[in-house]
């Protein structure tokens, strides 16, 4: 008996539509989030992650409404992130039916917010999203830094130390996106995934750069992640969730 490693399709949602960019730009429309989530639910996805990339204020209501519709039809865990800045934002999302809420930029600017959120709602529903990029040069000891604004702004924060701090403040899980890799389909940055997974006692979800099923398996076996997240390989029909599970199981990974 062992806990299964999770496969998590991710929906990047803009104004109620699923989109997917390459390196956070060049957005392609992939459809209605509730329909897509239902499809993944039927395929046996272990969770769904919903990242709201809507910029406008009106869009927030659309998001809550979409989350509500999704939670009424999809009976697997649902994580919602994007623009979560206050205790009220978290409460609204949980009340709409989210099981976990992912905090990203707000954690960088106000780390205590993570502590406050965990205290209020419990660590089990607080995910901290970390966007990391390699900053060390060839031949140097590997070092990764936290970036904000879709990978454009460096913060000077060391990614491994930052992740440890988030755990200490009460994060229940880390969603780690390697920004060099996101949308590039060349696989996760296994170095940073492993460094953070090994340094922490909480689960780490590997994200960013999945282009094939080998990449997913590597995230678990080489990156030591507890879960792997991918968007475009599932949205555009290249692979299905059952194909991903069969591939991982054949490599000795415990899946559901």
């Amino acid at each position: 008996m062992a806990l299964a490693k999770r496969i998590i399709p991710c929906l990047d949602v803009d104004n109620g539509r699923v989109v997917k960019g390459v390196k956070f730009e060049n957005i392609r429309d992939a459809g209605d989030p509730v329909e897509i989530a239902r499809r993944y639910n039927e395929q046996g996805a272990d969770e769904i992650t919903f990242l709201d990339i809507t910029a406008s204020v009106d869009g927030r209501d659309t998001t809550l409404h979409t989350v509500e519709r999704m939670a009424s039809q999809v009976f697997i865990p649902l994580t919602v992130g994007g623009g979560v800045r206050s205790v009220q934002d978290i409460r609204n999302l949980l009340n709409a039916g989210a099981d976990k809420v992912s905090i990203n930029t707000a954690a960088v600017f106000n780390p205590e917010f993570v502590g406050e959120a965990a205290e209020r709602f419990g660590s089990q529903c607080i995910v901290v999203a970390i966007d990391a990029k390699k900053v060390s040069g060839a031949g140097e000891a590997p070092r990764w830094e936290i970036f904000t604004h879709g990978g454009r702004k460096p913060t000077g924060l060391d990614a491994v130390e930052w992740a440890k701090k988030m755990e200490a403040l009460g994060a229940g899980e880390i969603l780690l996106t390697s920004m060099d890799q996101d949308g590039m389909k060349s696989g996760f940055d296994l170095g940073v995934t492993r460094a953070i997974s090994d340094a922490l006692g909480i689960p780490v979800i590997a994200s960013g750069g999945v282009g094939n099923l080998q990449h997913l398996a590597d995230g678990i076996t080489e990156g030591h992640a507890s879960a792997v997240l991918a968007a475009s390989i599932f949205h555009f029909g290249e692979y299905t969730v059952p194909e991903a599970k069969a591939y991982m199981a054949a490599r000795g990974i415990v899946v559901r």
Binding site: M1, A2, L3, I76, L94, F121, Q124, G172
Partner: protein, 212 residues
Amino acid sequence: MQTVAVIDYGMGNLHSVAKALEHVGAGKVLVTSDAAVIREADRVVFPGVGAIRDCMAEIRRLGFDSLVREVSVDRPFLGICVGMQALLDHSEENHGVDCIGLFPGQVKLFDKSTQEHGEHLKVPHMGWNEVSQAMAHPLWHDIPDQARFYFVHSYYIDAGKPGQVVGRGHYGVDFAAALADGSRFAVQFHPEKSHTHGLQLLQNFIAWDGRW
């Protein structure tokens, strides 16, 4: 039409539980903190998320400790996650909290230093794990033994009476994944988030006459 009361004591999201119950045809699902409504319901669900100290404080403030004792005797009653842990004697979370004491046993923290399959245990225990059906029960109807359910918890139940452990889980240690006693049933996992098997369990609960 039968009514199912989902006890609301202000701790966390009850939307998912209510929606899943409606989905399996539970009849009238009432998310409520009104003791009179809870007393009149045909079935009662007692969910919970978050820290046990805050949960127990609210449960006591609202008088739900005695209400839960009362309404769980004569009708089907289902505790979920922290709603299950609150039914035990005591939890070591938050430096030790006395709970309702309907099931003998202790709630303990998973040990992060435990190694299993060459890996350190990640805590919380988060994800899909197997449940072995230690004893037959109407709520296991049409659910295969060793089916996987969705768990998310850092504390586990060390049951006081082995005869009440109807479902066993394992994560570094063996723990009670499901407890039963008469009309009371309690699960550590989230049936409302456990896809087909979870919905089947809720459907079984809705069909159950409360006898075991």
